[in-house]
Symmetry: C2
Subunit: 198 residues, 2 copies
């Protein structure tokens, strides 16, 4: 194959061509917040809403990440960092493919989100703080995790015996003890629309 | 957010909805073969050709994987297996997103490709053997790797001092010492079209 010696650059389908095809600009919408704050609920409703508006997005969350690419990671400090690193790298691939990535992960520290931002690229990283008081999250306890953390069955649980550092300057903050999911999705959509429309 | 208690299943945008939107069925086209066999050249031309035909595909290869999600892996036995495992998991995410994944990796053993197939799912995995004699690959030596392997600067190089196990029953075999890249792409396209068209 003599073609091997030709430069390959004109062959690769560029991000820009992909964005044109999908009629959008690709970004990573990164939701951070306590367990039970409502991140995944908002992320999933946002995915659906974007799809109905003609956008093409993909939620990445514990359900499809922890059970797949990160199924060999635990919850040690090192593994948590590797967890977020891989998620950021997968999001970067999606963004390069022209797809909007909607990420829902506790991602508890400023440093760990900074790492994600650096991998993804600051211009493609939109940080949204899903904020609910710990008491509210713990009362919801959708997955029963707070109960386990309080009983000591889970160690190092964010908000109980591991810190959560709120973003200092998020692109948007949603207080889910004050607004419902539909309003939350509307606010997120209004914020990201200028960034994702062609 | 009372919505938290509702079942989430109707919210998630399904693979089928995504495939409808992109007007295709998503599959993983997995190219295996020696370094220099022409895998990536075919993969990249295929990506371009599919895009021109209205399909939406993404090449995964060393360029965007080894430099990203797998940048903390070396070339030990364990790391090679983890390399392919993560690639398979990323491909699975793409397929679930409705996107055709075009994978170009030496993936030298039957066992390692079997692992990839199991992760991706047999029904979504199309194995294509890009076959060129070692002498031909070594003569091409596009990246100068064979020279380094022969001199001992690289250890465990597939075909030199590590085995390559050809697929026993690939979906398709392309002999790149006999056919050029355009013919190769045409053959691959003809083979996969019934699988990717809606």
């Amino acid at each position: 194959m003599a073609e091997n010696i030709h430069p390959i650059f004109d062959r690769l389908v560029s991000r820009s061509e992909r964005e044109q095809r999908l009629e959008q600009r690709s970004k990573v919408i990164w939701f951070t917040g306590l367990s039970g704050s409502g991140k995944s609920t908002i992320a999933q409703h946002l995915e659906r809403f974007l799809f109905e508006q003609g956008f093409f997005a993909q939620v990445l969350d514990g359900d499809n990440i922890r059970s797949g690419i990160n199924n060999n990671l635990g919850f040690s400090e090192v593994d948590r960092q590797e967890n977020i690193r891989r998620i950021a790298e997968v999001s970067r691939l999606y963004v390069q493919s022209g797809i909007i990535s909607i990420n829902s992960f506790i991602s508890p520290t400023i440093a760990i989100r900074q790492m994600a931002k650096e991998i993804i690229g600051a211009e493609d990283f939109i940080e949204i703080y899903v904020n609910a008081p710990l008491e509210v999250c713990e009362k919801r306890d959708v997955k029963g995790l707070y109960k386990k953390a309080r009983s000591g069955a889970i160690k190092g649980f964010t908000g109980i015996d591991a810190p959560y550092e709120a973003p200092e300057n998020p692109a948007l903050e949603i207080k889910t003890d004050e607004v419902g999911v539909e309003e939350a999705v509307k606010r997120v959509f209004n914020h990201i629309l200028p960034h994702i429309k062609l």
